[in-house]
Amino acid sequence: MIEKEVVVIGGGPSGLSAAVEAAKRGAEVLLVDENLRAGGQLFKQIHKFFGSSAHKAGVRGIDIATELLEQARECGVEVWLNSVVVGLFNERKVAIKRTLTDNSEKLEIVQAKKIVIATGASENAVRFRGWTLPGVMGAGAAKTMTNVNRVLPGKRILMIGSGNVGLIVSYQLMQAGAKVVGVIEAAPQIGGYGVHAAKIRRAGVPIYTSHTIREAIGSKSVEKAVICEVNDKWQPITGTEKILEVDTITIAAGLKPLIELAMMYNCKCSFIPQLGGWIPLHDENMESTISGIYLVGDATGVEEANTALEEGRLAGIAIAEALEYISLENARKLKKEIWQRLNELRMGPFGEARMLAKNNILTGCKKQ
């Protein structure tokens, strides 16, 4: 059996930064990612980050990913790509379906001292008549096609959901040459930041609030979308239907943490709608209710890349501390700085709910 001090599951922003922080202080780190390259969703983020300079404002996600991968290489993080963690077992054993360089597959059991679960989140679906037709897809799929694969998923697009993902992906589809016919939002107000909404509105995209989708119509793929107004009880109002000529419908209805591995290991979870659903609890070190199992990024509450990066760093440092690669005092100082930055990221009208929810996670964890 292979032994590693630290196994990080998932190579997105949180997993990568956890790996880097632990490895650069001397820990032996294995990072496992199911994709052909690490970096997670960062490679799809072609917009500039918001916030202060301490939070990489003005830097694009793709550049942050490149930098993190370089750092991981420099500090000796071992990376297994195209490899899937299929199970977590007692005493921190990690079962990995590993793809070797000759493309053959092998099941490896790795004994770890510390495990970081950085599995991210998956998109929520919205179900309506015709939603299985080709041409109906997640906003993430549309973003991947456009920004990574560089093929537009359609010419005329309807976006469902006006949160930041819906607004930003709409803009990026337009940057790549598609026409966004409209954005619909079931709530009476726009979900995301005003600046993102203003950008697409200036370009002439209507945002229909208090609207939902009734149906996607098409014989082999999407040809039309039927939308309608909803009342204050979220019910469709008959007679308000509009037909939009679209070939693609993209769904941006939030994300849900991928917590299967945490559940497999009996990490205590709590239902927290503000963070996307069932969330594994963690303490100030990002350690779950099970000793040695850490959780970072969207897997422990859907937020954004900046908070994911900071949570990853926090876990990496806490692990280096636990493995005695840095002093208690040094670790305390570093972790305090990170918590300050995290708290700053969780301020304002959009951050406050997340801050409260995150505090509930910490309190919930203490009670265990």
Binding site: I46, M137, A141, R150, V151, G177
Partner: protein, 103 residues
């Protein structure tokens, strides 16, 4: 439709082209790109038909999670085309229900 020029990402510098066969028809793909990208660039949106109701399905998640885009690739069914890169002379077929491996 390919995004050859992009305001942020610049020009698509991938020049090498490979040939793949989709349901008997030869199409061009960029070397190393995902199968779904080559299909979509050539206007192909249906990857498979469902088992019972024979309904068409296409890309949904784009990151290998949902398995809606699976096809028969080089005789192997259930290949996720959104995360599998093309190879020269790859033979791709629309998948009808649950197909058996013939390779």
């Amino acid at each position: 439709m390919r995004v050859d020029n992009h305001v942020i990402l610049g020009k698509d510098e991938r020049k090498e082209i490979v040939e793949i066969q989709v349901d008997g028809k030869t199409i061009h793909a960029k070397k190393g790109e995902m199968i779904i990208a080559a299909l979509m660039a050539n206007g192909i949106r249906i990857n498979r038909y469902t088992v019972k109701k024979k309904e068409p399905r296409g890309i949904f998640c784009g990151i290998g999670q949902c398995t809606d885009c699976v096809m028969v690739v080089n005789g192997k069914p259930n290949v996720r085309t959104c995360i599998t890169p093309v190879e020269d002379r790859m033979i791709i077929k629309t998948q009808y229900g649950v197909e058996r491996s013939n390779g």
